[in-house]
């Protein structure tokens, strides 16, 4: 069975999907957030935090149903 994943990219991350916003992916469940981002072609080191609604998701969080995620870039600074 497939699930639909939508990823909204914030700020600098938009460069990884200039044509599609949010990024739409369909895949077999369950899958980790980490693998989903690999499939979306977004480098892990560029991702700061990931949220679904008010919840913060870790990269090893398992996704087993349709979801809308927001990905924020790493914060820059010294």
């Amino acid at each position: 069975m497939t699930i639909k994943i939508q990823i909204e990219l914030i700020g600098w991350l938009k460069r990884y999907s200039p044509e599609e916003d949010p990024v739409m992916i369909e895949l077999m469940f369950p899958e980790t957030v980490d693998k989903i981002f690999i499939k979306a072609g977004i480098p892990r080191e560029e991702i700061g935090i990931i949220k679904a609604g008010e919840n913060r998701l870790s990269l090893n969080h398992l996704i087993s149903e349709d979801i809308y995620m927001v990905a924020y870039p790493t914060i820059l600074g010294g």
Binding site: I10, W12, N60, V70, P73, T74, I75, G77, G78
Partner: protein
């Protein structure tokens, strides 16, 4: 200096106009930078005297590979902070590190007080203390031009100077370095002002032949490729740190209206993208850096009736947009640049002054102070009011502004409002309300800055909240940054300079050092800093946190006060292993 097995220290005694040069073989093991500077500070401080007593030292130091590899561009300054009363440590880029190296000095120690306003002129074969009475009272931008005209000379030149805030001993006065860079934090400007030292001019003109050019150049090219041909540094050049506005705002980690809020409804008007689109006119780099992360923005100012305008250029970055923008409710990029310009002219730390004004605005709202005190109607979003207030701080206009000039902690001691005076151990907060990492990191960081250990970064990267891991990570990062800062590598490039790269760079210029020795060095420097802080009476366990941190949800969610204090206690225990 590389190839030489000693640290060349220039001692300047302003009291007696006495100059000494010492070749310190005993300091060689510290590499340079903060390693050397912290030892020199420890040797010269007078713990029983006021931070602004003329006997207190200012120490500047560069690193053992300054300017010979990309992005190793900074100079460290160490002093006793008049803002916190303890360790003062600040970094600046520009041309200062290169010129000190080319003038032949690894470190400079300045003590005493001139009989009259003066400036220090440093070159390879001549050190002079010169009369600056004509420059006293002049803003930091203008005095740079005047000294440039007077000094002349050839070679690489750097001029660092203070504005009126430094002259008037505002506790968070900054030092301007080559117009667009600063020793911003913790009040070095006031320490220079207390010594009647308006400026320092450095001219360097010596050659630096490389012994094994083939090996050196290979390492140089490898590093340069990492800096320029990969994504690591690209963001810093592109829109720069202002791109933080958008994600921090969206995620709820952007300190707004004195941290009454964690996001700002006008954030999109002052985001990195907005600045780039509306104001960005130029990108600049420190000497020796191919990145060009200094973003210069321009705004128009009407200087006379009849549509007479001038274009003013000022540097901007994320921290300034936070402190003089979101924190004060300023809604346009033009207004933020205009406020930055006033801060620049008078020579203040932009972060501290913004956070201090955030406290003052709320204190006026709550009736803790009155318009009789503030003289101007401080209100979130009122840019003109803030510009007037900044001048009042620099000029110490009345009792209220004298206290504001000593920081939010001091002002709230007198007027109340401690719960919303957003400081960590008396240093005003940085622009990240990201979670426990930034709170713990700012409290225990040697200089109470986000730069000590990158607590905000750990808040993002931590997979699950784990107290022990957070304490351990901050402890490790603090030590690692002591090592990096002994070379005075720009911390933006910390991912470029991994251990392997550092060892390759140092070995290629004749400095044999091992990975284990780098680790030991970081620990030794951190231990020195902790000793200095203890000597000056600082007690991490006694730090009180403003309640507002726990009232406004962070990027991490709501934070628990007891957990924050527990983390501090755990960290204090952890540092005992260094004693």
């Amino acid at each position: 200096m590389f190839y030489e097995k000693y640290i060349k220290v220039l001692y300047v005694d302003l009291n007696n106009e006495k100059i000494e040069i010492s070749h310190r073989h005993d300091l060689y093991e510290y590499l340079g930078g903060v390693g050397v500077a912290s030892k020199l500070l420890e040797e010269n401080i007078k713990p029983d005297l006021d931070p602004l007593d003329p006997a207190q030292p200012i120490v500047f130091a560069i690193g053992g590979a300054t300017s010979v590899f990309p992005v190793i561009t900074k100079t460290v300054a160490m002093f006793i902070s008049p803002l916190t009363g303890e360790l003062g440590e600040s970094y600046a880029g520009g041309r200062l590190a290169l010129t000190l190296m080319m003038a032949g000095y690894d470190a400079v120690v300045i003590t005493g007080k001139s009989k009259r306003p003066s400036y220090l002129s440093i070159s390879r074969n001549n050190i002079e203390i010169k009369d600056a009475r004509a420059f006293w009272g002049i803003n930091s931008d203008e005095v740079g031009g005047l000294i440039r005209e007077r000094e002349g000379g050839s070679g690489k030149r750097s001029i660092i100077r203070i504005g009126q805030a430094g002259e008037n001993l505002v506790s968070y006065a900054s030092v301007c370095v080559d117009t667009y860079r600063h020793f911003g934090r913790l009040g070095l400007g006031a320490v220079m002002g207390s010594k009647y030292l308006k400026a320092i001019s450095v001219i360097g003109d010596r050659d630096m032949p490389v012994e094994n050019f083939k090996e050196y150049f290979k390492v140089y090219q490898d590093i340069n490729k990492k800096v320029t041909a990969t994504e690591i540094m690209a963001k810093y050049h592109d829109a720069g740190t202002p791109i933080n506005v958008e994600p921090l705002n969206a995620a709820g980690g952007l300190p707004t209206l004195n941290l009454k809020q964690n996001s700002f409804e006008h954030a999109s008007d002052i985001s990195g993208e907005a600045f780039a689109k509306n104001n960005l006119v130029r990108k600049m780099a420190c000497t020796g850096c191919p990145v060009g992360c200094i973003h210069i923005g321009q705004f128009r100012r009407e200087f006379d009736k009849g549509h007479e305008y001038e274009a003013i250029s000022v540097g901007y970055d994320y921290e300034l947009i936070f402190s003089l923008g979101t924190f004060l409710g300023i809604k346009t990029s033009d207004e933020i640049l205009e406020i930055i310009d006033v801060v620049e002219q008078y020579g203040l730390d932009a972060m501290s002054v913004g956070v201090v004004l955030g406290w003052a605005t709320e204190a006026l709202e709550k009736g803790l102070v009155s318009l009789e005190d503030t003289l101007v109607p401080l209100a979130f979003g009122n840019a003109q009011g803030y510009m007037d207030a900044i001048k009042n701080i620099a000029w110490r206009k009345n009792e209220f502004y004298i206290l504001l000039g000593q920081g939010a902690d001091k002002a709230s001691d007198i007027y109340g409002g401690k719960d919303f005076a957003m400081t960590f151990a008396k240093n005003e907060m940085s622009g990240y309300h990201t979670g426990y990492g930034i709170i713990l990191g700012s409290v225990v960081g040697a200089r109470h800055s986000h730069l000590c250990n990158g607590g905000y970064s750990l808040d993002q990267s931590m997979k699950e909240f784990d107290k022990e891991k957070l304490v351990e990570d901050i402890f490790a990062e603090e030590k690692e940054r002591c090592m990096l800062n002994s070379l005075v590598i720009c911390l933006f490039a910390r991912k470029v300079y991994d251990r392997e790269t550092i060892l390759a760079a140092l070995n290629s210029i004749g400095r044999e050092i091992t990975n284990e020795e780098l680790t030991e060095l970081g620990e030794k420097i951190y231990a020195t800093k902790l000793r200095i802080k203890k000597m000056l009476g600082f007690d991490q366990s006694a730090v009180k946190l403003p309640k507002r941190l726990f009232e406004t949800p962070s990027l991490y969610g709501e934070l628990d006060e007891d957990t924050a204090y527990e983390l501090i206690d755990m960290y204090v225990e952890r540092t005992k292993s260094l004693a």
